[in-house]
Amino acid sequence: MNAVLEERASQVCRLGEEPFAMVCNRPSLAGAVSQRACVFCGSRVVLYPIADALHLVHGPIGCAVYTWDIRGALSSGPQLHRMSFSTDLKEKDVIFGGENKLAASLDELIPQYTPKAVFVYSTCIVGLIGDDVDAVCRKAEERFGIPVIPVHSEGFKGNKRAGYSAACQALMRLVGKGSTEGIGPLSVNILGDFNLAGEIWIVRGYLEKMGIQVVANVTGDGRVEDIQRCHGARLNLVQCSGATMEFARMLQERYGIPCIRVSYLGIEDMADSLYKVADFFAAQDPSLRERTAQLVRTELEWLLPRLAELRRDLEGKRAALYVGGSFKAFSLVKAFRHLGMQSVVVGSQTGTTEEYEELAGICDPGTILVDDANPLELAAFLEEKKVDVFVGGVKERPIAYKLGIGFCDHNHERKIALEGFVGMYNFAKEVHASTMSSVWKIMPRKGYKPPFLDKEGCHV
């Protein structure tokens, strides 16, 4: 049976076997069991790590419950982001409107938790019942004197990308409200990193060693006041481009701050990203490049012998990866090369045409590229390509495990830092542990059967 539904055929491409063409960024097909989430999910992912804001989900309870503290975004201070607040709309609110309940919730929560700002997420039905969320927020803002920002994230209004966009617009309502005093010429904002397992602290550590000032983290370990003054920084570093490129563009248009795309995953990408920063500020500080080189050298001296050891076992193994944003896939393909491994299936939930083109350029012939996949397709690709390790998120994990294939968690729920040079080592260790365990040798799929099964009359 062909695993791919005809309507989805144009979203899959086998490199080298057919001319490259990929259709993407279209709505998920009904009944296809997409791995994708919704607009709300996109907004929530981006804004959730702002730790001193109150995140209030306006709608029935489900959306708030399923997103309650499920991600590993760490905060060095307040933990308000790890709470789950909801207006928990009931039948009568749906009939008579939820505005009063929203206003009452804000009246109740703001004095109690004294947040620096509030984000109010509208979910599916809020748009339908026509609550004027903007007006309720505006009034609350006047009452309490803190930003109360509506996030228009009705689930059905597009896909995750639309949610990113709603989040960027919400962020822009904070920018420009704070003083830029004390921001020096060698200063950056870190965009599109969510501080999973404390990753932002690793990256900030490198930048600080180079002598770069970090003004705001948007949004991992984020603080409202930092974001309010982030327009004072001289450069934006954008990692997750899907999520925050729009924000970077708005900062460029309104405040003239340039941005560069970076990635903190893998060796080249991490080093390149630091060099790009050094080059950008070269005119202001000619010795920056040398300091950066020194930092990279020290880190590699530590890292490379360790990787070499793991590579001995991993050489020649085959990897599949299915990630949220496709930009992450580039870094992963390269990271696997460092381990002597080949990426044979590469997919994402929300890649763009240009990103897939770029991916096609760096992947080997025979690689399957796929956009917005589902469990049956992924399972078929894993089986066809005889994959040893699959990199994905929680929803992908049981697909690999049912088939007796190693799995490595690389999504927002991870609790191990995979960024930076130390992150590359953690990644290699995890791939090694996921691939080399003896459990894979006793799986039925790998040909192992218990001896009693061969005996006459003993079939179970």
């Binding site: 695993a3 009931k90 059905f156």
Partner: protein
């Protein structure tokens, strides 16, 4: 307890997730959420984190256009795609807040679909109305089962079997019921039954739908059972009651067999229906009593907060009272008119009445618990924050268990389950006093 408008750290989930779980306990059934893509994906993620098993939940992936003009086309296209890829015997449709709010007439859509594609071999399709703003996951669970029973069960001659509706327990619990039926010599059909579906082996090749679950044929013949035993009090959407009303099969209700006395009563009901208590059960009962004696000093008077789904909370409270512990607060996120009475009934004569809270969230549970000085908690993972802040053990039970391994294999029903739960409780208390002791005895 103060009155809050908002819900802070909810102790419940929304209706469609309960429906999806109930549907997946039926052989060859794919749950189908009529709404936007996100809900289905979120629910899958939530379920997978607990069971560590694949669960595919299809969705009609409605977008803005569909929300405005109606989801009919998406609905039909989705069912066709699901048929092509999953070849299901049953499509269990659950609505969401989105589709209910725009007023979709799903039974009519199904009717149209059946007429339009009459030339195709169509699966059975049942629809449950599960607007997330009208109840919790447990209400969705019942709505789904009621839809299945109404849509699939047919008038048949009596065959003397027994139908058991075990409720939302673990696969290990479901498995225990099935094995018990065999030991008692009863032709027992469990609805639903996700013992294999959500706790299965590895596969040689990928299965679109994990094998196992209540066979469709057994559901078709369900009306011929001598009784439908539903655990708990009749829900407003009770499948057993609706089977009784529609096809005349007698409905019986008894508490979920958690602890000694509820298990005794449950076995009593099964013997009335023709089962015979096996010596193994008698032995297990004896072992449980012996353990309760051996451990009674460790648990005596220990103050306990119990929270979660109503059925589980009532059962656990009963067992805590039996072992000599003292439940001080019993809380559920759902609305319930009967919880207080049920709690009173199960602790009567054993311990003072605990406080009972319905429609509670963790903000309220914490507020109450902090004045009650509990010694430990029993409930799902989401109480961990409270356990941690008070430095007391959390005995994990129920759904979701997202911070421990093996949640799908936790057994709590029957004498076996009670013993397992008891060991876990006593050991948690021993470990705690050991860790806190300045001497660090390892001979206790």
């Amino acid at each position: 307890m103060s009155e809050y408008v908002s819900t802070i750290n909810a102790c419940k989930m929304c209706m469609p997730i309960g429906a999806a779980l109930a549907f997946r306990g039926i052989d060859g059934c794919i749950p189908y959420i009529h709404g936007s893509q996100g809900c289905a994906t979120y629910m899958r993620r939530y379920i997978i984190s607990h069971f560590r098993e694949p669960i595919d939940i299809a969705s009609s992936s409605m977008d803005e256009k569909a929300a405005v003009h109606g989801g009919g086309p998406n609905f039909k296209k989705g069912i066709l795609n699901v048929m092509r890829k999953y070849n299901p015997q049953l499509v269990g449709v659950a609505t969401t807040c989105l589709t209910e709010t725009i007023g979709e007439d799903v039974p009519r859509l199904v009717q149209e679909f059946r007429e339009e594609f009459a030339d195709l071999p169509l699966p059975e399709i049942v629809t449950a109305s599960t607007p997330s703003y009208s109840g919790t996951h447990i209400d969705g669970w019942h709505a789904a089962l009621q839809a299945v029973v109404n849509g699939v069960a047919q008038p048949v001659d009596s065959h003397g079997g027994v139908t058991l509706m075990p409720g939302f327990l673990s696969p290990a619990d479901h498995r225990w019921f099935k094995e018990l039926g065999a030991r008692m010599g009863l032709a027992l059909t469990l609805l639903p039954d996700f013992s294999d579906v959500l706790d299965g082996p590895t596969w040689e090749t990928y299965q679109p739908l994990a094998p196992g679950g209540t066979p469709m044929e057994a559901i078709r013949r369900m009306a011929g059972a001598c009784a439908t035993v539903e655990l708990g009090v009749p829900h407003r959407l009770s499948p057993a009651q609706s089977l009784e009303q529609r096809l005349g099969t007698p409905a019986r209700f008894t508490d979920t067999p958690i602890g000694l006395r509820a298990t005794d009563r449950f076995l009593g009901v099964l013997t009335e229906l023709g089962g015979c208590v096996a010596p193994r059960e008698v032995a297990a009962r004896g072992r449980l009593l012996d353990a309760l004696v051996d451990g009674h000093k460790y648990v005596f008077g220990k103050r306990v907060v119990v929270y979660g789904e109503e059925e589980l909370a009532v059962g656990v409270t009963a067992f805590l009272a039996e072992m000599g512990a003292r439940p001080v607060l019993v809380a559920t996120g759902g609305a319930s008119a009967t919880l207080a009475d049920r709690v009173r009934a199960v602790v009567d004569g054993l311990c003072p009445l605990p406080e009972v809270r319905t429609e509670a969230d963790f903000h309220q549970i914490e507020e109450e618990a902090n004045s009650m000085e509990p010694d430990f908690l029993v409930g799902h993972s989401k109480g961990y924050k409270l356990a941690r802040s008070r430095g007391i053990p959390l005995i994990r039970l129920g759904f979701p268990i997202h911070d421990r391994f093996g949640g799908q294999r936790l057994l709590c029903v029957g004498y076996d389950g009670a013993l397992e739960l008891y060991d876990r409780i006593v050991n948690a208390l021993l470990a705690q006093s050991q860790d806190a002791s300045p001497v660090g005895y390892w001979y206790l």
